[in-house]
Symmetry: C2
């Protein structure tokens, strides 16, 4: 039904781009690399936000808001941070336009040049630690557990809707602690919060672990992450949580006096997920007919479509439909009754299929006679007839069933696409044939990591949090290794 959607097996990348547009999730804007998030896409993002925000608050965090602009000099304060972030970014140099004397619209007013250029935040550590300097004096002021929902800008050369855009929406947590251990615990806790969210709400299983030094956040001592597998066998980093050590405290001179009145540098963390999760959600579950959404993140969980020839039939169907709507809403479900007469049922079926509504209920005059309705699941495409009596329970249960089924399917797919290899030949063979996550021994050097990347495009996604200690040899260098790490080609 979904006219013109390329099949995943033909061209996964084209399928994704088309799906994002056809399901009305987002589109490119007139500004290179910046997207417009359309209402349906934004509604899914809002559901994600609401749940994440709840989980952040349950773990003691508060929201705040810091400026979008950061003075250029701030980036230079933390040596590795400037290398990582202050390069490809949007630079504000002027604060005024004026009428073009030649009458061609407006031009930059050269008299309004900023003394110091401002950077549109690519991430806010510098700005926030500059504030923390004033907020923290004593151990009583710690911990500070803040989160910010914001837009950020990184000037990407190659962009793709949701996956990599110049401007994107995200949340960034920034916490300050009195001890190293407390900060490390926070870092791990937030990785786990992300994992729970992605698994329980996005229905997408993830691996948890730590990044290698070369893949770490610029300015972090340690980066924890979760990695998910897409249907094309590529990995996608779904969230990161950074242990910043005392790096930003030192860069911005943030000290506190402990209980014994000793001045110490504060320990920090930062952690974030972004609209990139939308890309993961789409790519992980959807099919050749369009979007497949886990019920817990579907803006509309149930759509009811009336089948009718005339006003009388519509009236009869509507009476029953409105009752179903009311009953389901009472159970907390989001239900839409699409009684528009400007579109045919077939068009509506395809439309909601494409948009990923988990359950569709169709009701026609014959159904009314039989006291039943047709219920279609988006995930399995299964259609069944159910009696009106007891329908509420059926649909409520279906929500959990679909949520579980989508997760299980993704989990099975991942199981089939996790390999363990002992040699570099095996490694390359797996990469060529199916990709996925590959467990392999690595000698722990950045050189080997880089060479494998150059030769195969595969990177070390993570050092598993539950890594088994075992003697082995690096698949590339043959040097000794103490445990396997996870490689994959990644988005």
């Amino acid at each position: 039904m979904a006219k013109g959607l390329t099949k995943r097996s033909e061209n996964y990348s084209a399928w994704y781009n088309e799906l994002v547009k056809k399901a009305d999730l987002a589109e490119n804007s007139a500004v290179r690399g910046c997207m417009v998030i359309k209402p349906h896409g934004y509604a899914i993002w809002e559901k994600m936000q609401a749940q994440l925000d709840k989980m952040f608050k349950e773990t003691g965090h508060y929201n705040a808001y810091f400026p979008i602009f950061i003075p250029k000099s701030y980036f230079s304060k933390e040596a590795s941070h400037v290398e990582g972030f202050a390069k490809e970014c949007a630079v504000v140099t002027h604060y005024r336009l004026k009428n073009d004397p030649d009458g061609n619209g407006v031009i930059v007013d050269e008299d309004a040049k900023l003394e110091e250029e401002l950077i549109v935040r690519p991430t806010s550590e510098t700005m926030i630690w500059d504030s923390y300097k004033n907020w923290i004096q004593s151990y009583r002021d710690l911990p500070i557990l803040l989160n910010q929902w914001a837009n950020v800008v990184r000037w990407e050369m190659r962009t793709r809707l949701f996956l990599r855009t110049t401007e994107f929406l995200w949340q960034e947590g920034h916490t300050a602690h009195a001890t190293r251990q407390e900060a490390v615990d926070e870092t791990v806790q937030m990785m786990n919060v992300y994992a729970e969210f992605v698994e329980n709400y996005m229905a997408l299983p993830v691996l948890r672990g730590r990044k290698t030094e070369s893949e770490r956040f610029a300015g972090a001592e340690d980066t924890y992450c979760i990695e998910a597998l897409m249907q094309d066998g590529k990995a996608l980093q779904a969230g990161t949580s950074h242990f910043l050590g005392q790096n930003f405290a030192k860069a911005f001179d943030v000290k506190f006096s402990d209980k014994n009145n000793n001045l110490e540098y504060v320990w920090g963390t930062s952690w974030g997920v972004s609209t990139r999760l939308m890309g993961a959600l789409i790519m992980a579950h959807s099919d050749d007919d369009g979007l497949v959404l886990p019920p817990r993140l579907a803006p509309t969980q149930v759509v009811i479509i009336p089948i009718f020839r005339d006003e009388d039939q519509l009236a009869a169907v509507s009476e029953v439909a409105n009752k179903i709507v009311a009953d389901l809403r009472k159970q907390g479900l989001t239900v839409q009754f699409d009684n528009r007469d400007s579109y045919k049922p077939g068009w509506k079926f395809a439309e909601y299929e494409q948009k990923g509504v988990p359950v569709r209920i169709a009701i026609g005059p014959r159904d009314l006679e039989n006291g039943e309705v047709e219920v279609a699941r988006r995930d399995t495409k299964e259609k069944k007839t159910y009696a009106l009596e007891g329908l509420t329970d059926v649909v409520v249960n279906l929500m959990d069933e679909i949520q579980d089924n989508i997760y299980q399917k993704a989990l099975n797919f991942r199981k089939e696409n996790i390999s363990t290899v002992e040699t570099y030949d095996e490694f390359k063979k797996v990469l060529e044939s199916k990709g996925g996550f590959i467990y392999a021994h690595w000698d722990g050097t950045a050189e080997t990591e880089q060479q494998i990347k150059d030769e195969t495009k595969a990177t070390i996604r993570l050092i598993p949090i539950d890594q088994q200690e075992e003697e082995g040899v690096c698949i590339y260098s043959g040097k000794p290794s103490k445990g396997k790490v996870v490689f994959a080609v990644a988005y």
Copy 2:
């Protein structure tokens, strides 16, 4: 208790600035004119957002997100819009920094100059109508009822926390309609939604009306607004709703085919409120001891403070306190039990008073013996002792009582500060003595409006929505007038 808070009667402006900082709502950042919204301030904003968002959705609107950057040339497309908005704004000219060859941090990479400069959005009409052009072909695509929660930047020369900042947070609704009437109705509806929100949640009465031509939004045919009165007798514009006519449709060539297949330009509206509402909320209700919050927008509605000398007393008090917390939460109230031993009760009393928590419950060992607690209202400072039995009902009722009382107080203040004058002398006398809203006849010309403004700083806040038709003469020019308008000195 609130050390160092200047009295309102001494210096209202200093009082406001100090209060914003002492109540931990916001502070200035290192970037000129950009504020940091601190957790307590942001929590209030979140409550506002949640309620407004609900009201927008109940009136059929959806959220979406459009890029923060707007190509410079877009502003020139709508003639009056460019005059109003493309002047004092942040201009992005480059997309890369590089290491300073002299080793002094980073400098702008001149090789990375944008072909066309990008403006950080001061408002998004241009960007959004550029998208609507692609979204709208037929009458079936209308109406489009979108809202966006976003940050915007206007390069203000004089800034004040919340009231006027270079970057601020807001929502901007942008709708597209098939007919003029539908667009006008939408404009009026949103003014009313704002008024209901400000009156019922912010507990602040507003006047509703239309702006004069010179105070209109740049690009609008008509601007509706709500105006509130602050304790110093100045008015504050709390929300605006613009009827855009076909101006942006024409500028961006957005046409639709109607049911008869005629191509017509689309009709538009836009409407917004911002973090400026925070300023209104603070200035309208607070007193010399700190913030006063209406319960419906208070992040913490009730705080419970234990009075204790030792661990045993704290344990006994906590048992009762935890029961109260549970009972009140069951009623949907937000309750905090501050059992920290690092601060004394007196310090806590002052702290929560300053932060505007509507109800404080204090419990000490003697209260336990008597089976009662002390309940203090923030709005009236009244303290009363209540039996534990039935306390839940008392506190629940107190929420409505306080909400009503704060509103009534503001309403009474406004009543006392609304004047009607017949002459310019009277007008100036009222302005000098107490300010407030002044109803007066005006000849309808921009010249008179400007002269009154130059001479008195008072502007026409609005032409009342319920303006009485009556013959009169302009207080300034003596020319004929058909009804009174509302003047005030405004923020």
